[in-house]
Amino acid sequence: MILISEKREHWNSRFAFIMAAVGSAVGLGNIWRFPYMCYKHGGGAFFIPFFIAIFTLGIPLMILEFTLGHWSRGGAPKAFAKIGRKWEWLGWWPLLVEFITVIYYSVVMAWCFNYMIYSLDLRWGSNSESFFISDFLGLTNIPEVLGSIRLPVVLGLLCIWLLIYLIIRKGVKNIGKVVLITVPLPTILLVILAVRGLTLPGAMAGVSYYLTPDFSKLLNAEIWLAAYAQVLWSFSLAGGIMITYASFLPKKSDINNNAIITCLADAGTSFFAGFAVFSVIGYLAYSTGVGVNEVVAVGPELAFVAYPTAVALLPFAAAFFGVIFFVALLTFGIDSAFSMVEPLPVGITDKWKVNKQKVTGIVCLIGFLAGLIYTTGSGLHWLNITDNFIATYGLALIALFECVIVGYMFNIRKLRKHANDVSEVKIGRWWEILIKYVNPVILISLFVMFTYENITKGYEGYSTFALLIGGMVLALVAFLLSFVFMKVKGEETL
């Protein structure tokens, strides 16, 4: 049955849309990955390739995704089906990849939830590493040994999924209200943390590590690819999220300007987070009498080992700043988490016209149950493996397909015209050149680099069996399922 028209819900305001898009883009990675990338890749010199990556990959892709969503008035599957029936799978693939991502991302948020409570009495004591690895996670030596399910993590996970369900079940109008709190709040908390951090002894040594440029590193291709990879992951691109969010924009919306604001706000948060993180790292080095390079950390190690250690050393109000840090992580993460879930129910509802609340409930339940594997003693291992294959390979490949299909299988000029017709800020032919020629080359280079590294260095010493099960099989299942979703007949309104 072909339905000729339907009424699609809209964002409450342009501000709400931008907040939701920024909230989706800004997540845990902004806090715990970007500052480290700067430190690792030449300090302030990293800004040069990073800014170039923002303007050549981030903003053009963001404009592409916003335009696709706005033009098609549908989620990613509908958008690609509108380009060509045979490309609908490319709309389902990122949705499934994002859903797998949120399954383990929500577990990390469950850790934050627990640590927010533990901060009240600084439960990690003097050895935060031992507390995190042994007492909290009960980490097994290898992923094949599952270990026991960690009850506090399960309870935290349940709370996170309940929260996600409650936020997204009523659609974008509700999301528009929630992000008015969950986007400014962590930013304010980050400012408080940065001010506290910068007033601590040793802080400037940490900040100096973060900012001092080593321009010789610019000659290394690795730093350029790292900058492009950072932009791709940080901006929530290639996950179908931005296509879905933009599909709820009113007809007259400044797509181009919204895309630029979203990208700059996300990058600005990352840049600022560096001060909050490195000032505390500097203080930790000062307090323990070692060099900054010996305490610098990335990812979970930064959030659950280095930062808690520094918090425990604070001269006053340690618990207060501990709570603030984990509340900031939780609120930064929750927008990203629900934005990763939302596109899947939207895609299903767009295609099969089923009750969205029920679909959302089922999707959240599946997410919670699947996440239980990451709450076991081997959870951190599986999380590392899945993240490497799903987020790293998956997103780079999807972005590549997006550029190629829109650039070569469709009249890209039509999309540029659509974006310019509704936008005050106009884009020129340079946008088409970037999407058609420049970005595919960059994305292929990224993919080759990841593959080369995984083949030559292996991944964190994990066995082939673990890498196959936790990474490649999952990635393959997501890829194949996207074709199944395409093949099942729906009630479409193209």
């Binding site: 302030g44 100096s208 001092t212 440029p213």
Partner: protein, 35 residues
């Protein structure tokens, strides 16, 4: 310990590109809304 000159230069560079750009495009958005 204070920041060295090159670190201060990168700080200014980062602020100008990111926050300067952000303020400019928000200004454009507000201006178009008024129109």
């Amino acid at each position: 310990m204070s920041l060295n000159l090159s670190a201060i230069a990168m700080l200014i560079f980062g602020c100008v590109v990111l926050y300067g750009g952000l303020v400019y495009f928000i200004y454009r958005a507000l201006k178009s809304k008024k129109k």
